[in-house]
């Protein structure tokens, strides 16, 4: 499968009078395959939007190279077959939904009224097409944003926080639309904080922290190595301590019930045997896949800690001198 997006050592550095050179994005190596939904995750200020802007040719990289649909970033031909929905988009408030589509359509040279109406139908705004944007709710604005992003029948969509600030119903609507985009063979590049949402829809993800990719791969691979949760009744404190000592597990009591949380790499039978040997009652044994949220927090924390360590060592060395 061909790459929809490929970057090699893509870098964006800003000069700051106070802090000197700041690497907002550093040596970014990213590959997004055609036809997949790719999640681009990271804490605030990690460099997600900067990366998207570079890929769109809105800002210029200071190093490395990037290709979108096989062409160098910034190539105008690519802009005819890609689309972008920014975070919290703003549209000219005096315009109606239909006028918004006419305006953005005109930028492509599209004057197809039937297409505009069809897109409004698709995002459930046909009944509101004569309302002005100032009368639109956040969810409606997001949906008109998605409609404008489909005007040119794009092969690749960049969605920056597409469900940010939306109510649960709007969430589901937008999620369903994104899944449909993949079914239609489009590539979707999503930058988001909504990890549960990303986990549900993305095929692959990359986690960026402080401008550097710290983890990248298929969601199934990244989330493998899950946990097992065992809940049991009538278990003594001694047995609980014994389990704690033998297995690398988190052991706790909740309303008199023992809860054991352990890695699925360990054998749960030994824990079950220990409980049953003292007439304890197993209530449940549940394998749990690692959640994206766990992976995200783990990855970002580990990365932050590894970046702090050399600094601390250097500070200690400085102090010793």
């Amino acid at each position: 499968m061909a790459a929809a997006i490929e970057t090699r050592k893509l870098t964006k550095t800003y000069k700051s009078r106070l802090h000197g050179l700041i690497n907002v994005v550093q040596d970014l190596d990213l590959t997004v395959e055609e036809g997949e939904i790719f999640g681009f995750l990271g804490p605030n200020g990690a460099g997600k939007t900067t990366t998207i802007k570079m890929l769109l040719g809105i800002i210029y990289p200071t190093g490395g190279e990037g290709f979108v649909l096989g062409k160098e970033i910034g190539d105008m031909d690519v802009h005819r077959i890609i689309s972008y929905l920014p975070e919290r988009p703003y549209y000219y408030e005096h315009m109606t939904g239909l006028e918004i589509l006419r305006f953005y359509g005109a930028l492509f040279g599209i004057k197809d009224e039937a297409l505009f109406n069809q897109l409004l139908e698709r995002v459930n705004l046909a009944a509101d097409k004569s309302k002005t944007i100032s009368q639109f709710s956040k969810g409606m604005q997001q949906r008109i944003g998605l409609a404008q992003s489909l005007l040119n029948d794009p092969k690749l969509l960049f969605l920056d926080e597409p469900t940010g600030g939306l109510d649960p119903i709007a969430h589901i609507e937008i999620r369903d639309l994104i899944l449909k985009f993949r079914d239609e063979g489009r590539t979707v590049f999503i930058s988001s904080h909504e990890l549960s949402e990303v986990e549900r829809i993305c095929d692959r993800v990359a986690i960026i922290n402080k401008g550097i990719i710290v983890s990248q791969g298929k969601l199934d691979d990244l989330l493998s190595g899950g946990r097992i949760e065992i809940i049991a009744d009538d278990v003594s404190k001694e047995i609980a301590d014994q389990i704690k000592g033998t297995a690398d597990a988190t052991v706790s009591f909740h309303e008199g019930r023992l809860i054991v949380d352990m890695s699925d790499e360990q054998d749960p039978n030994s824990v079950v045997d220990s409980i049953r040997s003292t007439k304890g009652r197993i209530i449940s044994l549940t394998p749990r896949r690692k959640r994206l949220e766990d992976l995200f927090i783990e990855t970002v924390r580990d990365d932050d800690a590894s970046k702090k360590k050399p600094a601390a060592v250097a500070a200690e060395a400085g102090g010793a001198q």
Binding site: L56, I58, Y84, P89, Y90, Y92, H94, Y104, L107
Partner: protein, 262 residues
């Protein structure tokens, strides 16, 4: 051309709905409306007082509208992130800038036409001039329109690299130099008695700064003594000057805007 026209028409739609501009326009029309009743109080010729005051109101209001309209154009698009959705489409940055400028000029044209219509109508009602005189009065707003186009180009140029506040003072300053001080600098530049340094400064100011004073073509009613030798040639010159100077500023703005991080 299609993206430019789409951006221009959207800009007009937005401009004519901006409350601050509508308020300035309303005040301008209001001032124009009360001028006929004030002109009778002056000792000077009622007709010349009336028309010169009307011109001053029209020019001042148009300049204020031109500045307020254009200084926020680019910064607002960046702040609201509309520029991202536009530039992610097959739209070049220069097309965006030209579209914005054309929209501003069209919106200015509409507002000047509205104020001029009120002015000419009032002048006709209160003075009942001959058709030739009425035509002379109606001609001046066209030159103000050219002047405002030039001013809009100055503001758009500055908006590619400055904040609206800085742009406001820079544009006001340049317009002030080009309207009030330009004739003074012209006389210094041509005065053989002035020091060479003063003459050089004056030559630079008159040569490099946009000559807004060119567009205040004195009406024979106000200045009966002032005669433009070859009227046709002069008018062609000031039309070309406005177009070429604006184009030069836009090209410079495009070069800066093309490199700018938005």
């Amino acid at each position: 051309m299609r993206p430019i026209m789409a951006i221009a028409t959207t800009t007009v739609g937005e401009a004519i709905r901006r409350r601050v501009l509508l308020i300035i326009l309303f005040i301008g029309v209001l001032l124009l409306s009360i001028i006929p009743s004030l002109s009778v109080l002056t000792a000077r010729s009622e007709q010349s007082t009336m028309i010169s005051t009307m011109y001053a109101v029209l020019r001042g209001t148009s300049a204020l509208i031109a500045i307020i309209l254009t200084i926020y154009m680019i910064p607002n698009e960046i702040e609201r992130r509309t520029i991202y959705t536009i530039l992610s489409k097959p739209v070049m940055r220069w097309q965006f800038l030209v579209g914005k400028f054309m929209g501003a000029v069209l919106a200015l044209g509409l507002m000047i036409v509205l104020m001029s219509s009120v002015m000419v109508l009032l002048f006709y009602i209160f003075q009942q001039p001959s058709p030739e005189r009425l035509l002379e009065v109606a001609r001046q707003p066209f030159f103000y329109f050219l002047e405002m186009m030039l001013l809009a180009a100055v503001c758009i140029f500055f908006s590619t690299f400055t904040t609206p506040l800085v742009n406001f003072f820079l544009s006001i300053g340049i317009w002030g130099v080009g309207t009030v001080l330009s004739p003074l600098y012209s006389s210094i530049a041509s005065n053989s008695g002035a020091s060479p340094i003063m003459q050089s400064v004056a030559k630079f100011v008159t040569g490099a700064m946009p000559a807004f004073s060119n567009y205040d073509v004195k009406n024979p009613i106000i200045n009966p003594g002032q005669v433009i030798e070859n009227e046709q040639k002069y008018f062609i010159y000031i039309v070309l000057y406005a177009i070429l100077y604006s184009a030069g500023l836009l090209v410079a703005g495009m070069v800066i805007f093309d490199k700018r991080e938005v």
